[in-house]
Amino acid sequence: MSQITSYTTDIRLDEVASGADLQDDPGWHLLRAAVEAAAVEHHGKVGDHVLDYFLRRRTCDIALYTPAFQRGVGIEVDRATGEVRFLYDDYERPELVAEYREDIMQNFVTLAVARALKDMNYDVEVEDPGRTAGRRRAVVVRGEL
């Protein structure tokens, strides 16, 4: 019997929580790819720190900088729990930062689903409808045995 299931998601890197190095966690490589994809889309770059409004620096695991938001949206992985946290000072730019967070989350989940289906021996296609009025729409991942 077939079914339709809706899922809520959260990023958590279990290998890291088990004591593995970040580089040894497959989820980390997907997360990095998700941030890099967002950087390409927004003509930005990635780095390892964020700045607050007063230009104070804080190191993180990866950060996205764009021409429109050079303080950066950072990501930090809690080494004890594997939980992923966003770091930023969104003063005066909360909508822009929210958009970048959504881009990274949507990229990560798209990459993870595509990779999971490939690992399950599905032929995978990704359909990205692009943006409407500047906002990206839902992305479709299809897997066929």
């Binding site: 019997m1 077939s2 998601t9 890197l13 967002a38 949507q106 999971a116 296609e125």
Partner: protein, 95 residues
Amino acid sequence: MPQIEVVVDREGNFRADFSGFPGTACEEESQNLERALRALGLPVKVKSQVKKSPAQTAAECRLDETGTGPAAAGAAGAAGAAGAAGADPPGGRRP
């Protein structure tokens, strides 16, 4: 052919439509997908689940056998998903 179509929203939540799975294969496959995602750093929680009727499932399987079902419909404008991470970065596929 069995097919899974996943729609990922802006918050990273998603809906998975399992079609063309006979018997209990669908439930097993949804659990396999959940396990695979967890191993990739994406633990998921089921928000809602709707079982398709036996007639609907049978129709999906019949349609597929004739080559006119979801599996044969293709995906207009779809980009291939492959690469080092197992899939192209979404941002890299847009024109």
